[in-house]
Symmetry: C2
Subunit: 214 residues, 2 copies
Amino acid sequence: MKPTTPAAEDYLKTIYAHTEWQPDPITPRVLATRLGIAPSSVTEMVKKLAADGFIAHVPYGPLTLTPAGRIRATAVVRRHRLIETWLVRELGYTWDEVHDEAEVLEHAISDRLLEAIEAHLGHPTADPHGDPIPAADGSSERVPAVLLADAAPGHAGTVLRVSDRDPAVLRALAEAGIGPGSRLAVVDATTVRLPAGELHPLAAEAARAIWLTS
Amino acid sequence: MKPTTPAAEDYLKTIYAHTEWQPDPITPRVLATRLGIAPSSVTEMVKKLAADGFIAHVPYGPLTLTPAGRIRATAVVRRHRLIETWLVRELGYTWDEVHDEAEVLEHAISDRLLEAIEAHLGHPTADPHGDPIPAADGSSERVPAVLLADAAPGHAGTVLRVSDRDPAVLRALAEAGIGPGSRLAVVDATTVRLPAGELHPLAAEAARAIWLTS
DNA sequence: TGTAGGCTTTAGGCATGCCTCAATCTGACC
DNA sequence: GGTCAGATTGAGGCATGCCTAAAGCCTACA
């Protein structure tokens, strides 16, 4: 199988991550925005990734991972999430501080080190944000979930995952004591009720970052 | 101060490491060999590093670090050695397995993570090979030492440091139970006497990799 | 003193991965 | 069915960091 550069891995990871949160395949425009680069740069890299068999792409169409691309992507995601877990559990990081560090380290650690960290942590199945950590074979469990922003008023559930994309959202939630495992009831799109009964306002970004049990 | 790329840091680190083991300044040729690249590539990078104030160089002359270059170099060495220490102490690596991993990670971890690892390890002063770990301000203790290959027959001393460059040498020494802290007596350039009295043959590379108390 | 051979530098190229700017396509709306 | 905005692509450039090949320098030895 063709080797992948750190840049290529970021593309694959971002395409994969999009499918975890959205049903529709990602477009070049959105991918460029996520990666913080120009759309034309995406065009170029997409050409290479398609030629190498990692993504399927017809001109002017959306981007989807091939099975080979999905394997690569889940390997990167696995690294990212194990590193995040390690930083929080072993080195005193908080869940809003780990993303940028993991973003770099995921391209730097060897398979050997990854396995050592995983064993050291006792083979965790989820990272500090509740995101599932894919197994070495790429498999990962999917739990039925609903985005808080999409949940009907009155819906109650347990927080399964919180997107690690926006540190400010994570800090605000941590301050409110909300994290994976928290019980929440949806009052409306911007308000939730905590177990103690108190109402808590949520920014729109926060409502789009939280997945609840359905 | 000018930022440095991973490639530039490798140059500075290698120039610095040379001064730790050899009194003469390094030449472009030797630097190219150490880095595994063509001499002309060194010429180019040297031009940039000199322009940025990190090394002093007159055409056709040897390479020496400026104070700014030395600060940068010791910072990289500090990272490298703390990472090696962490891999051995926390993750079950042996001392011959850590070099390549640290070579990559030293360019990837943040200052924040470096400090966290250092604190986690209890601020070690030497890595698994006995190499001193520079403090955050760049200072590091220098102990009078003699290269085993240069030691007079009959000289006895404690192993202070073993170069981490050649994993095969490290494995052979580990097998013989020789490491930092070991007592050795020099019989000749290729033989040492262990504390138990037995003679042990040393490859020439090993004799040039071991520093003894003088 | 002259010159061979090694070291260093220069010149010109290549791959990666980004950019801007301009051209082309697509889909939605009139 | 035509038009237009926005998305996508293509062309041409730039920085980094490596390469090979050729030219220039330097020294040691005859």
